[in-house]
Symmetry: D2
């Protein structure tokens, strides 16, 4: 008979509960990871609220830090007991999407190898990380050992927050000497700010209104922090750039207002790098779009995954280039996860990210 474990399960809209589930069997390409730390993502709150549909009974969560408990029969290059992380996105390594450098849209098993958001499996199409154990598919593509000397909380942002945030700067092709605006300084926006800084932007302007987030924004690398509750952020960014506008604008919220503001602060020929998860149609105003003649680039990105991505992100931490621990504001045991959801979903008590430890 299967051994049982605790897992945070989606029951129905507005109900994620901790329940018993069998510890999963390990297929030839899988690894079973004992979770030591995980966290809750904004996406999980969308799931909780029923805004993003998942199967009832699914274990939620896509940000695992843990220890290899058991390796599949075909998995080489790892050992049980190794401390590892896996990305929120777990590409197969063999779909056309993967082989095109677009692994987050992994369509393994589909006719043509592309599937919208297909690389996002944990807590979406397969059981996720808010549990005592997690089955990691295609383990050889997805598991990365944690460098010696880094503790769980130091790498907890790598699977999603830091990977997504950094990708905002990377896909925006931030260059040495660029001026960059980052709209919204939640965890992902904060990491976008840090990414822009690490890639050499020399004027970084972030936008938020929560004082604690504005403070951390400066620590993450912002040169100017604009409080949109006090000033119009478009006007203020144009003022701060002496009317020039920015080379790259990063959207990290998923709203019309921020998307549109990001477009309006771009210099002609600039790039809008969008990270937000939108929940409504977007409008592109004709004037802000220069009627289609502005040589603009708009890119969207779903969190890059895979073990090499995770290795690089942990290198950034290990090398002391960035410390994401200030983003972890609250800590809970797995058996307190319903309480953690209540806090996080309502953005109480200045929460940025919570650490959950089984």
């Amino acid at each position: 008979m299967a051994q049982m474990m605790k897992a945070a399960i989606f029951v129905e809209p507005n109900r994620i509960v901790l329940d018993d589930k069998p510890i999963p069997d390990v297929g030839p390409l899988d690894a079973l990871v004992r979770i030591t730390t995980t966290t809750i993502c904004g996406t999980d709150v969308h799931i909780l609220k029923g805004e993003y549909p998942v199967a009832r009974g699914l274990t939620i969560g896509h940000e695992p830090v843990g220890v290899i408990e058991k390796l599949g029969s075909s998995v080489a290059g790892y050992r049980e007991g190794q401390r590892v992380i896996a990305g929120a996105i777990t590409p197969s390594g063999h779909s056309a999407a993967c082989l095109c450098g677009c692994a987050s849209q992994d369509g393994a098993g589909t006719r043509h190898g592309f599937k919208p958001l297909g690389g996002w499996r944990f807590g979406n199409t397969i059981d996720g990380a808010q549990a005592e154990y997690l089955l990691v598919p295609d383990a050889m593509v997805n598991l990365t050992p944690i460098p010696d000397g880094l503790d769980d909380e130091q790498v907890l942002m790598c699977p999603d927050i830091m990977s997504t945030g950094f990708s905002g700067a990377e896909r925006g092709q931030v260059r040495l000497g660029d001026t960059v605006a980052v709209f919204a300084q939640g965890p992902i926006g904060l990491c976008a700010t840090a990414g822009a800084r690490l890639m050499g932007a020399t004027t970084i302007i972030s936008v938020d209104s929560v004082p604690a987030r504005m403070d951390i924004s400066r620590r993450m690398g912002a040169d100017h922090v604009v409080d949109f509750s006090r000033v119009d952020p478009v006007e203020e960014i144009l003022r701060l750039t002496d009317g020039r506008g920015v080379d790259v604008a990063i959207e990290a919220l998923g709203r019309q207002a921020t998307f549109e503001a990001a477009l309006r602060v771009l210099r002609p020929g600039g790039t809008l790098s969008s990270l937000g998860v939108y929940s409504a149609d977007l409008k592109i105003p004709l004037d802000a779009f220069l009627a289609g003649l502005g040589d603009y680039t708009i890119v969207t990105t779903l969190c890059p995954g895979g073990k090499e991505r995770m290795r690089r992100l942990m290198e950034v931490i290990a090398a002391g280039r960035l410390d994401t621990r200030p983003l972890v504001t609250h800590r809970f045991r797995l058996d307190q996860i319903e309480e953690a959801y209540a806090l996080f979903a309502n953005q109480r008590d200045g929460v940025l990210k919570v650490a959950i430890t089984p």
Copy 2:
């Protein structure tokens, strides 16, 4: 006293007339070009209708083919009597925009060197090409000799139509073996089709409904031509690609319907390359946008200009890789230009492009 010339002048909305104007003086960096052939662009029709505002009295037109009549005192490397073209966009060569590889947004003379659409001067901010003579600014950046053996009509599409159309494929980063859709097969869309073909796309699907355009589309390189008046183009493109979608979708009309269809036929991770001049706000439907998580890239482009660009385009013609003469469906003398506008603005008689010869 200044010598006079004939020029097509914007008088007021719905009135472009041929009138007398002084032949312009030649500044140190300018060249005076005697126009031998020019044409009318869709943008000129917007000007005619008063939809795009220009100064009253301005000479219209931005597609010059001619002969150097006189060179400015600081212009070296050319000789009078040389047959030349200049691009529709005439960058200064010295703005920040130019030095950033974004010359169409040339902001010469502005504080930061970027100006929306600033590179478009002919028939917009300075007198244009529908005249007996044209003053070309920054001549050393903008004049390209016509290769021996090419006649005027062979290169008439280079200044705008072919440069813009090709840029749709180039900015879309079409790669060997790509599947590409091109929405609308007017002159620019036809050149986008040709550009995709020349860059190695192996499945090119164009969309239009005018039989003559659909015929030329096949000659320009389309593998499939979809008649949107008979079938839903999104469904048909998905059918033709067996449900996969396209790697690159090129929009060449400037309408919500084509923009949206271009987005809907993209595979996840694909690129929408927009060439159209829009006249209203655009909507990005949430589902087509995969809520911002589709790893999409959307690029817009204003016709690339400059002498090196023109040299490359004429090389394409000279090498026999493309013949754009089928796009020239009608011919007029400059003194018939009002008649030419009437035909072209109303898209009568299957017109694609007209050749105007002073």
Copy 3:
């Protein structure tokens, strides 16, 4: 007891013989392919001559066309009886090299995931394709179904020759309107010529001295073919380009003379794309290198592999953009392979490529 098959085996330098070998067992991620057509590569001749060391007893060959005989237990998305090809390079899909877009240097199983030439397994580190059956590792990364309507010889160049040749143009970043030189018009050089043509080069100058190759070169897309036995190719290319030089020079032989000539015909800022397998140290002459100040780019490439690459190449064939059948000059049965090696290794009878059918 294992069933036996015929295979071309490396016995010792200068001896590749056809011998009996067990049909291999199929592991969970493998596929067994019954070879219907294969060929001999120049690299195989290096192996034959003992210049490139492989294990005694190894089956040679890395260019398989065949039919799926049996699928491993974990392989999904294929069916037995399907006609397929695999690339000469068979990446694992899960090494760091693969996840970095550098799959030919696949270091699956190594500490850091990079291994020089590690993606080249067939006929190098594992049994190859000159046999009745071939075991394809990581089948889901490497098998591509052959499009309906294409026969074996139409796709026989895809696994190596066309993939390598095209990569010369791709890695050289050939652009619309480029001038390109291709040094040596063996099978790979011919495909480099075709690749440059398909990507939009408008002046393509190839170099060889064998009349039959020079003829095919024109059919593959060369605008000018220089006979280096009659004229100095550097001088001739500079003459043909009116002293300008080329944007991209592709080296397809692997010799000092061609490498150096490729460098000498580059315009400043140009790209040398090297495909040749060298057998001695190279010299970069100081003057040709502009003392290191010429803004040159030199790239080398090992044949790109993987199923998506193969799909794209076969699309090029299926779309009628290129026909590589003229490269197949001779045909042999597998039991004549020793005779085929004798012909091919000595470049007798104008041989370009041979088709071998078990």
Copy 4:
């Protein structure tokens, strides 16, 4: 009669002397700059020694910081009295090379618009900066105002040292999380180290043997500094990277030993970014080159110039991202320049760079 000024003039090999010269006339596109600070470059020492030939009587020097004294009649956008710098490379803005993004090989006035090293004019083909006054050609392409608050020494490295050094990292396409080696820590190598750091490299290994340079290297961003006089740098870098090798190796000396070592520490698929000025043929060892099959990229770069480049570099300084003042180890008046050459040419007294003030 022309007013006279002091200038450092090349008389013959081993003789650069301070002499009187007329203050140059200002053509329509020029600006006359009164030099307030300049410096001596390693290239100037090559000129001094007669290793790099220039015309007798030429004023040497290509690193100007100064004040606009007079503007040409066609120059707009500046005002006399403005503090400015110009790059060592002064592109015309209108050559084919400039319009191709390869401005350092500017061939203004040549048939095809490319000329080896053609963008390098100061102290090479026209009078240079080691003088009281400097005539800047194509002033609108080349002059950048110095941001308020920055003194001369803060921006003195921008025209050449920082532009060249940073380009080593930029052309090497250093990415977040890369491992980078930089060979030689003279002023340019130090700026390459800083550039790699600013672009997000997480393991930076520099190589030198002079203790003072090794110290500054750490301050500029090196994580490890290898003393090649004590250990074999290739072995040590492989040891420090646990056998993996580096993603990008930057050569900043111009010698066979460093070029070869840079190649030997690359991981397969890595990039060698070469900045050095070589004085002899280079050898590429067959094994280090993986016989041409390593998917390597080798790039060389001549100092990028132009006003936008200078603006970005000064932004890096103004934003506090880098302080290059530690590179200025000695200060001289212009009338002491012969003494400065004696010190700098013989690398006495730990000199890195000298500041020369007229």
